[in-house]
Amino acid sequence: MEHEARNAERAGDAGILDESPEELYENAPCGYFSALPSGLIVKVNKTFLSWTGYRRDDLIRRKRFQDLLTAGGRIFHETHLAPLLRMQGSVREIALDVVCADGRHLPVLLNSVVKSGEFGGPLLTRTTVFDATDRKAYERELMHARGLEREARKRTEHLQRLTSALSAALLPTEIASMLVAELVASAKADFALVALLREREDELELLGSHGLDASHAAGTCLSVADTAAARPLETREATFLESWAAGTLPGLPRESDGDGAAVLLPLVVADRSIGIVALGWTKQRSFEQDDREFLRGCAAQASQALERARLHTQTAAAARRSALMAKTTHALIEVKTTAQRAERLARAVIPEVADGAWVQLLASGDKVVIDVAAGDERAMVGGEGIARRALTTGEPQLALRVRSRLLRDPAADAGQHGGHVDADADRRPSCFHRCRAAVPLRFRRPQCARAGERQTLRAGAGHRPHAPAEHARQRTNGRSPLRCRHALQPSGRDTRGWRRLARRLRSRSRPCRDRRRRRSGARHPGRNSDGAVAERDTRPCDRDRRTRRAARPPRHVQQADRPRGTSRNARLR
């Protein structure tokens, strides 16, 4: 210390240690300048000049301090810094960027003090400037990190909100609208749609959408092949398209380059794609890892919710079916004759299972011995085809997409024999078809046949007014003393249920087997629905696809006109 002090003293004597005010000002460890209240620079130190690269003559009485700032900084100067200085006489630690002579931006922190004149008005502003390059860089990192953290928190909140909202949703359409609303709000998507694969897996049915025109209302069907959804559905991987033809999301067209962006998220349950979520933006955008995770998370939540909704519906349907079975069994055993039972059977399924039902029992020689109907007759129009198939094959038959023009009013039909086509029918979306089922009944009558001989009761669906002759003609090859034709027009596709109902009709001698079948039926309950008969009737797509698939008869059965007396027919008899 002493040594150092002595050195300093010697240096001072020699004139090397210059601590004159001028030296202190010019070479201070900070930039220093003075400006008039207008900002015009009148004095500046060397440090400031060397940091910024300006010559003294460039600045003195030529530049205002605000002229050295970036445009954004200039606004800040005018709206914050200048008023603050004027009102409180000083500012501290204001962060700004000074534009240097070579155009480089120098981040600085500045303190200013106003020197007042004799009458209190501002005379001069003195400002010290500190280089804040490193601090600013660090600050930017912090800001960036804070921004990311805020984003992550927001995403977590969005996901939590979606999860809790979905947990209460039990209808697929409800789930779709929640998902769409959430994604539009959080991902700021301009278009969104949620669609589920239909049974044949070559069509998508829209459940909900946002930002699309009316042609993409819920219920619309799109062919998978016409959309970009095919690949994500097949690979079960989300597709992120940062460049996409903007505004073309409607209809989910094939991929193409453009000035927008899109995301296709498959909805996957148990390694199987059940549908797709598509989002579109009108501007190109990038998808960070976090964005991708978030969107995948939303899709996963929605998939689970849809599966949950399916299971719920299935359970509810099983319960409803059990109740119906119990009721029907009770109704059937109350009466003794076949005719009474046939009538009870027809009535029993209205309205829980179908809008209309029709049971016919055929005796040999095409003779209709019993013919009863219940419910809405219009629902039975045009079911001859499947009735015939049911009778021919001995298997239950389903027609899930009966063309809507077949649903015309029988009254109108009567007036315009066959030439009439419902003008609106073709304009209706393809999903809006009714469905119907026909179940063959096999019938054993021990008291009027040889012991052990099985007799056949068969059923088909059809429009009562034209039913008997044609169908019955096909049925007459058997040896059975009694042939029955049972025509039902149900809306449900749960053929197990139908078979069971049919068994009730001939249930005098086989209660044990019935119980066994019922148990096995309960293990794989079909889902026929959600309660509303009307909706069920017109919207086959809402129903569970797997059940439908299970219920679909084997391909060979669908061939309508099998030759009579095939081995299958023989076996059934």
Binding site: I75, P83, L84, Q88, G89, S90, E93, A95, D97, S116
Partner: protein, 267 residues
Amino acid sequence: MIGGMGALERNNVEVLGRADGQPMVFAHGFGCDKNMWRLVVPAFEQDYRVVLFDHVGAGGSDLSAYDPSRYDSLQAYADDVLEICDALGLERAIFVGHSVSATIGVLAANADPERFEKLVLIGPSPRYVDDGDYVGGFTREDINGLLESLDSNYLGWSSAIAPVIMGNEDRPELGEELTNSFCRTDPEIARNFARVTFTADNRDDLARVRVPALVLQCSEDAIAPRSVGEYVHRQIQGSELILLKATGHCPNLSAPEETIAAMKQFL
């Protein structure tokens, strides 16, 4: 919508001057609060009923009333002005708006022309960003730069407004109020207000003004250049333009006397 006393509390409304005088509503611009009028208001207190207020999000306003989706356009701020006028039952009011509040005044006067007798627009600019032939003075990048400046400064905002009152020893209350006012500025709100202000385009609204208007233009204004002031003057039918010697964007602070004189001449 908040009516009655709600609007008065929400906007921290202060009424000064002659109770039976013609009402004069002062609206502050972006970055400040009603204290900006401190040096101007005393000149009008004798003859007018002076109404001061803070825009929601600024100064002593009710920050809980700030809803980013509502205050997503200047029209919402204009609606607030009309609500204040309603709450106080003001008629034939003179509206004095600084900076962005000049535009807010134009919107309010267009929405309810009967309410206002005159408009005083200090440093107005209907659009800050250049657009074709129109020169607003800024580009989109410039506005992004401003938002960044706001971000940097709010990080250490509390120290920037440390109440070091120098040169104001005789008026300590001045510094104190200002300090509090800036303390209460929520950084997020300031950012939103900046975005709404500097990305707005209200050029078409000028031609619809039917209230006599005065445009006060500073000679060197980095925010609203002279060409913009002249544009406003041209667009508002029958308006008067006074070019002040004062420089900067806040003549009400830097040259209160000149500002007052120009206003009085117009009134």
